[in-house]
Structure formats: C-alpha cells, structure tokens
C-alpha cells in the first residue's frame, strides 16, 4: 500500500514539469475594441475562438470612444508606457501617427499566407495599404456613407431621388417648408463627412491648391449658402451632432441627410418604407463618399504576434466576421458573408455597395486627426454663422494640409 502511494506520488512529480510546460504554453493576448453600442459584447466570439485555439486566451477590453480622441490618446499613452495591447481596433485617421510611433507590426507576410485573403475584395486591400507600401491594418468592418431620403415626400412632390447636385439642390429647396428642412447637416464634430460629400464631390480636391481653386471655392460657397441663403438646413445645424441629425430625420424634420448603414435599422423602425437610401450626388469631381473603415492591427510591442494575428484574422473570416458586424452594426468585409447578408434591409445594403465605387478616405497624414476633430467643426461653424467667409474657410483647410 505504502509502495503504491510512493509510486503515485513519484508519477505525479514526474508529470508536474510537463503540466507546467503545458500551462506556460498558453498565451494570453489583450485586444482593445470599441462598438457604437456599448451593450454589444464580443464574449461569444471570444469563447468560439478559444474553443478552437485552446492555447490562446483573449482578454477583450472595451475602450471608450469619445469621438475618437479618447480611444486614440489612450492607445498612444499605452504605447508610450510600454503597456500596449497585443491587438487593437484602429482607423485610417490614426495610422500616420501610429506609423510615426513605430507602433504597428507589418502584417504583409501574415496576410499573404492567410487562407481568408481571397474572401476580402481587392478594393479593401487597395484602401488598406499604408503610404509606405506595407499593410498594417486588417479590415474587419466597413461602411460607406450614402444619402437617406424620405421617398414618400419625394413621391408626393413629384421629385426624383437625386443623383447629381442640381437635383439635390432642387429637392432640398422644394422639400423645405414649415418646420421642415431639405437636408439635415451635421455641423458639429464628425460633420466633415457631410462636407466632403457635398464639396469634395463637387469641385474641390484634397491636393495642393485643390481646396482653393475656383471650382473648389464655388463648391464651398454653394455649400455654405445652402444654410445662409437657401436655408435648407435646420437653424440648429451648426451645432448638430450625430444624435440630432438622426433624430431630425426620424422625427420628420428633415427630408435628407448623410449617414451609413449603421443607422438603417433605427431609420426603418421609425419610418418604415417611407425612407430609403441612394449614393450621394455625383458632381464635377466624380463624387465623394466617405469610406468608414474599421480594422484590427497587431501592435509592434506584442510578444505574442502570432497569437494576436490568429485572433484578428479569425474576426475577419466568414461567419465570425458576420457575427462581429452584427455586434458593430456595420457591414461584413467578406464576400462570402455579404452573399446572405440580412442584418439591415436590402435597399440600404444596395446603396452601400453602389457607393463603394466613389468611396474615398481623407489623406493619411498627421493633419487629418486635427482636421476632423477641431479644425473642420470650428471653421465650418464660423462660416455658417457668417463670422468668416466661405473662401477663408477653404484657405484654412488648405493651410492645414498643404502649408
């Protein structure tokens, strides 16, 4: 009996180093994420991934967004402190800063050897290539901005849904009336997407001299005069943010506004078939529809890059990517997932995919974050209120980007 006990103990002791080695092999990775709806929780995705990869534990950390500044600054601070997550959700506008900090791990070799690569359209890979030629971002979600239209009001007024700026202006004016406005402008933070569609798509260009050319100044003057002269935006437009523009549309105060498929289910619930979406108008510069990107990156500080890549590539693969986008309210980047996409009504997905051909992003330079967060809202609001001229507004933007 005693000998048997000794043998058992010896066997246990002999096995201990093996068990220890096994335990040490388990890798924990930290992943930072943000969803518009804070109630969305990726726990089920994490559980599925960990089941398939028992040697990896994913610690998903929800980081407050705060208009982008909160998330970005926390990420920069974590990188400087040497405590960066292994992987994080990222956007194009912070890529130049992250590259400057040498904070991103190049993903070229991972992507080239990845079986899921072919399931993501070439357009995404084109947009996700950094200025230095490397690929640091793996697309996980996307939206393209489109134009919401109250199709019942258009039909009643005998108007066709706008495809160009002449139709857009005529409709905005015709549909403006008592307590109702033709277009709901987002003049507060985040409204640069509206301006880009209406000005960069109609004569202005984001290249040296392209913001102060005669065509650019004319396009911007027209844009500002939609508020100051034609009065087709609500008087609250200079300070309206996302919530106000969406609520104005849902409560029947505005006939058109610009947003993306992320708000489609809300719009459908509020207005039913009265609302539809079409690509933003196309002007002399071929139209501009802001590409709302969402990617994952592996941080250069990570000591578990392979495990971090496994996790982010899982999130961009087929069914997992569909599940991820059900949480984020955006659109799958996979071709296979898009085939049976039924998260939002089909007409909104159709407007999204039709807008892809004119999808654009702001320049991948350090100035873009300043432009979107402070320079655009402050300068545009001043122009809308008549404190500066529309031309001075464009000169401010030209100076910021091109000196």
């Amino acid at each position: 009996m005693k000998r048997r006990h000794l043998l058992t103990t010896a066997a246990a002791l002999a096995a201990a180093p093996l068990a220890l080695a096994h335990a040490q092999k388990k890798t924990t990775i930290r992943w930072w994420y943000h969803f518009d709806d804070p109630a969305s929780n990726p726990a089920a995705l994490v559980a599925d991934f960990e089941k398939a990869n028992p040697d990896i534990t994913v610690q998903a950390e929800s980081i407050p967004w705060g208009g982008g500044a909160d998330y970005d600054n926390r990420l920069y601070a974590a990188i400087i402190a040497g405590n960066a997550p292994d992987a994080a959700m990222v956007k194009f506008n912070n890529q130049p800063r992250l590259i400057e900090m040498e904070a991103l791990a190049p993903l070229d070799s991972y992507i080239d050897g990845w079986s899921g690569k072919a399931d993501i359209a070439e357009d995404f890979w084109r947009l996700h290539r950094a200025p230095d030629g490397h690929r640091y971002y793996l697309p996980v979600q996307y939206v393209v901005l489109y134009l919401y239209c109250r199709q019942d009001w258009f039909a009643k007024a005998g108007l066709k849904l706008p495809t160009n700026f002449e139709d857009f202006t005529a409709a905005a004016q015709a549909l403006t009336g008592a307590d109702r406005w033709g277009f709901g402008l987002r003049g507060g933070a985040g409204g640069h997407d509206h301006w880009a569609s209406l000005v960069l798509g109609n004569g202005a260009k984001l290249s040296k001299g392209g913001l102060t050319s005669p065509a650019a100044l004319a396009a911007n003057k027209w844009f500002i005069e939609l508020f100051t002269q034609r009065k087709v935006f609500p008087p609250s437009a200079p300070n309206d943010g996302f919530v106000q523009t969406i609520n104005n549309m849902k409560s029947g105060r505005t006939a058109m506004t610009i947003h993306h498929i992320g708000s489609a289910n809300d719009m459908q619930a509020a207005l039913g078939d009265a609302i539809t979406a079409v690509p933003v108008p196309i002007g002399s510069t071929g139209g501009w529809s802001s590409f709302g990107d969402g990617s994952n990156a592996v941080l250069a500080q990570s000591k578990s890059r392979d495990a971090a890549w496994k996790w982010i590539s899982y999130l961009s693969t087929g069914a997992a990517n569909v599940a991820f986008n059900k949480l984020s309210g955006q659109v799958t980047v996979t071709t296979s997932g898009a085939r049976d996409w039924n998260v939002q009504p089909a007409r909104f997905l159709a407007a999204t995919t039709a807008s892809l051909k004119m999808a654009q992003v702001l320049p991948p330079t350090a100035q873009t974050a300043d432009f979107t967060r402070t320079v655009w809202p402050q300068t545009t609001q001043k122009a809308l209120l008549g404190q500066i001229t529309p031309d001075a507004m464009m000169q401010t933007f030209e100076k910021l980007y091109f000196g």
Partner: protein
C-alpha cells in the same frame, strides 16, 4: 530631537500625498510647457524655453478664450450669487414645508455636471426641447430658437446651466451664515426704528460679509476651472463662441495631442487664478 521630529513624522503621510498628487503634477506641467511635446512623437520632445508662452501672444484663439473665460466667470458667479442669496433669504423665513424646500434646493448641486449638461442640452434642443415648446405655447417665442447654435445664445445657455447648477452652493452657505446672525441685532435695529431695508443693509450684509467673500472666492475658482458643462453642451462652439481657457487647454492637449501648448495654457490659467487663490488663502489664515 524626538519632540522636534514628531510633528514632521505625523505630517509625513499628508506631505507625501500632497507631493505626489499636487506638486509632482504641477512640476510635470511646468516641464511640459517648456517643451514641444506631441503625444504621438514620444522620442522628440525638444526644449523650447518660453516658446509655447510666446506663441500664445499671437494666438487669436487664446485671447478670445481668455475673454470668454472672463464673461463666463463674472456673469455666472454674479448670477449664482444673486439667485443663491435671494433663495437663502427666502429659506430663512418661516413658511410651510420649509424643510422640504431646503432639501430640494440642494438637488442641482448634488447632480453630476455631465448629467446637468445633457439635461440642459435636451431642454434647449431646437426641435424637441422643452424651452422652445413652452416658449411657443405661451407666446413668448415666434419661432423655435437654435439656442446652442448661435454665438450669443450659446454662451447664455451654458451660463444658464452653470447658474442652475451653482446657485444652491450660495443658497446653503449664505443660509448657514444668516442663521448665525444673533437675533438681538435685529431687535436693537427695530428699537432704533430701522426699516426692513435698513436692517438688511446695516445688520445682515455686514454680518454676512466674511461668508459672502469666502463663498465668492471659492466659486470663482471652481467656475473658472470648470469645462465639463461647456464640453457636453457645445464643445466650445458654435465655432469658438463658448470656448473658455480651460476648455481650450483641454482641446489642445487631449484632442490635438499637443501637450506642450496645452500645458502652457494651463499654467497661464493657474497664474491668473493664483491672485484669487492667494486672496482666499489670506482670508482663510486670518
């Protein structure tokens, strides 16, 4: 030796906490303000001396924010004091349900600033706000007003919100002061034939003067430093119409990631407030 070191030993925890939590951040802010510190360029933080401060002299936004701060502090604290003093005088009188009224008056002071900002943003909303709805219904307005989207009304709106938040501080503080005035002083004034106004002028005001001065100084410091209400309600807009100095410093440092410039703004604000703080400290030490 032991008797001399004992006080320092007893003070050590408080001194250590103050050193780490106050003096160290202040020293760090001063260091940042003398360097070109961009958060996403951690390897390049060159010493620029007073460069960040000199740049402020040519910064139109700085001067505009300074002007807005002056309006913000003087008007907001002035209105808070007037409203709070009136409320204190009313609450000092006997009337039914006075206990309940005294409890309710503290509610705005007890609410977090962010909640107050959101509540007032919705009340002032152009389309769905209570202020426009009631104004139109009662015939006070011809058309809805975009309160937060016009430079003149936006500043008024944020001041209105901070007045609502801050007047209970004056009401409660001055009420405590009023209750501490001996009744005999009023009786003597009445025997001397003083009218109600004369009693107020010659008894109430002189007796309350120390409390009023301390409350005003404290509130001026708090209001001058506060940016949360403005950040929530207007973000400093429209344009820069409601951008005060602390908000400008915050936006420079946090949104713009320019900690050198932002720290210089914070130091300037601190120096400006130092006058008020030293007056308060001198009073407190009397």
């Amino acid at each position: 030796m032991h008797a001399r070191s004992l006080p320092w030993l007893l003070l050590a925890p408080a001194l250590l906490a103050t050193g780490f939590l106050v003096l160290l951040p202040v020293a760090d802010t001063l260091w940042l303000s003398l360097h070109d510190v961009i958060l996403y360029r951690p390897r390049s933080q060159p010493f620029v001396g007073l460069g960040n401060y000199i740049a402020l002299l040519d910064d139109a936004d700085f001067w505009e924010s300074l002007g807005h701060s002056l309006v913000w502090v003087v008007v907001a604290v002035g209105l808070q004091f007037s409203l709070g003093f009136t409320a204190a005088l009313l609450l000092n009188r006997a009337f039914p349900w006075r206990g309940l009224a005294r409890a309710l008056v503290i509610v705005p002071w007890a609410l977090p600033s962010v909640i107050i900002g959101l509540v007032w943003t919705w009340m002032l909303d152009f389309n769905l706000g209570l202020i426009n709805t009631l104004g139109l219904r009662w015939g006070l307005l011809d058309a809805p007003v975009a309160w937060l989207a016009q430079p003149g009304t936006a500043m008024l709106a944020v001041i209105l919100a901070v007045v609502w938040q801050g007047f209970p501080f004056f009401a409660i503080t001055l009420l405590a002061g009023l209750q501490g005035i001996p009744k005999e002083l009023y009786e003597a004034a009445e025997i001397d034939g003083a009218s109600t106004f004369n009693s107020f002028r010659n008894v109430t005001l002189p007796s309350l003067a120390p409390v009023i001065a301390t409350a005003l100084l404290l509130r001026m410091i708090w209001v001058a430093n506060s940016l949360d209400l403005i950040l929530v309600m207007t973000g400093g807009g429209p344009g820069t119409a409601t951008q005060t100095l602390p908000l400008y410093a915050f936006l420079k440092a946090w949104s713009g990631a320019d900690y050198g410039h932002g720290s210089a703004l914070a130091v300037v604000l601190a120096i400006l407030l130092l006058g008020v703080v030293s007056t308060y400290a001198a009073r407190a030490n009397r």
